[in-house]
Symmetry: C2
Subunit: 207 residues, 2 copies
């Protein structure tokens, strides 16, 4: 099974490869990828091995093969229906964002407890009453949920969803959701990213 | 200088500690932190050393001391004025979000090129013409920028900002911004997070 650091680097390679493809570049070497992304060439080579794609000596990899290999490995060629819970500022931004569709994410309904939002359609997606969430997860066999409610409500809603059969939660609320057997919980921590930025900026200012 | 994995774990410790503080817990051991977050105790101990906060044998750390230590280390006790560029769905969500204020982030103006948005006030923050960005960065000595424009425009705008004196960019656009000497560029990659989720979900389904 793949290491987390490798797994996290793969979308970065994909982004570079897609931009090379747009520029009609046919072949790419690990050296170029390493140079463009500031990653050690030996690390790049090791990471790309997980895709099973093989390069040609002196020529390198076929860009489109590598793109397909990474997409398959990340399972982004598999369209997944998802529910989104908490259609506020962040939830609406995600509903409207087409960018995640190419990663297979297909949000088919939003849920909220605000009566002013229930029954509305936002970015073409209907907003339903949170009271129906568990039932609809079971009936429609939806396995992935995007959680964008305030932190206070996230753990309880996560529990309800898992009980109803959700297998993966993409959690944007700044709270810890207890890990469970057989459920993937991926926490998005923007504070983590901001912390890296502010720490590095302050270190730079001290020098 | 601190390792990136340690730096990225610190906000996670902070979140747990703040929740313990809310529950009026005075002392905490590395063992409890390790157990709650699923991290090795020896790793927790090593990470927390960077804060300079020392625990008492048998008692552990004073929760509030550890909170202050992490906040200082991440430089979150230092209020930083920031500009946000690209007041669309994601930019507006960030403008309205109070959550980053406790990390010192103080967005004092937004910028956009959409005439329907210029001159408006969103969540109490004025939206200015992007044409004024370079000038205002220089005059107001703003050092941090949040970049939420479409990927096609991000590298060019980053270049203009750096030329005018910006020292740190929090980039949400899915594109690579070239690293520069003396500038901190922190890329937020939600696709990276989604990739981890979809890969793990598909691995789980195969078993
Ligand atoms: N806005 C950002 O930039 C940002 C950044 C980082 C993290 N977050 C996190 O994302 C989450 C959403 O942030 P936001 O700014 O969109 O907040 P918001 O207040 O705009 O949206 C929250 C939404 O959740 C709904 N909601 C609240 N309680 C609910 C419940 N019990 N059941 C169903 N729906 C419920 C509300 O009606 C609202 O539509 C929060 O946890 C926040 O901390 C937001
Ligand atoms: N919405 C999401 O959930 C999400 C998730 C991940 C990444 N992103 C990324 O965040 C960025 C913003 O996404 P969004 O959904 O808010 O898009 P959006 O289209 O809603 O907002 C873009 C904003 O940028 C402004 N803009 C465009 N070109 C500009 C220029 N040259 N100068 C100044 N302003 C300009 C537009 O007028 C608009 O207000 C994009 O790069 C997107 O890929 C968004």
């Amino acid at each position: 099974s793949v290491s987390l650091p490798t797994l996290r680097r793969l979308p970065k390679y994909l982004m570079l490869l897609q931009s090379l493809e747009q520029q009609r570049v046919i072949y790419v070497s690990t050296t170029l990828i390493a140079h463009e992304l500031g990653i050690e060439a030996i690390q790049v080579r090791k990471d790309l091995e997980v895709t099973g794609v093989v390069g040609k000596p002196k020529v390198g990899f076929v860009v489109s093969d590598l793109i397909q290999g990474i997409i398959r490995f990340l399972n982004w060629d598999n369209r997944r229906e998802a529910f989104l819970i908490g259609v506020g500022a962040l939830g609406s931004a995600i509903l409207g964002y087409q960018g995640f569709r190419e990663f297979g994410l297909d949000i088919i309904a939003g849920f909220d407890n605000d009566p002013r939002k229930i029954g509305k359609t936002i970015h073409g997606i209907e907003i339903l009453d949170i009271a129906k969430l568990g039932n609809l997860i079971e009936r429609m066999k939806v396995r992935l949920a995007v959680l964008t409610v305030p932190a206070a409500f996230a753990p309880e809603i996560a529990g309800i969803m898992i009980f109803s059969g959700i297998k993966a939660i993409w959690n944007f609320a700044p709270c810890h959701i207890k890990a469970r057997e057989g459920v993937v919980i991926e926490n998005v921590s923007l504070s983590q990213s901001l912390g890296v930025l502010t720490h590095r900026l302050s270190k730079m200012e001290q020098n």
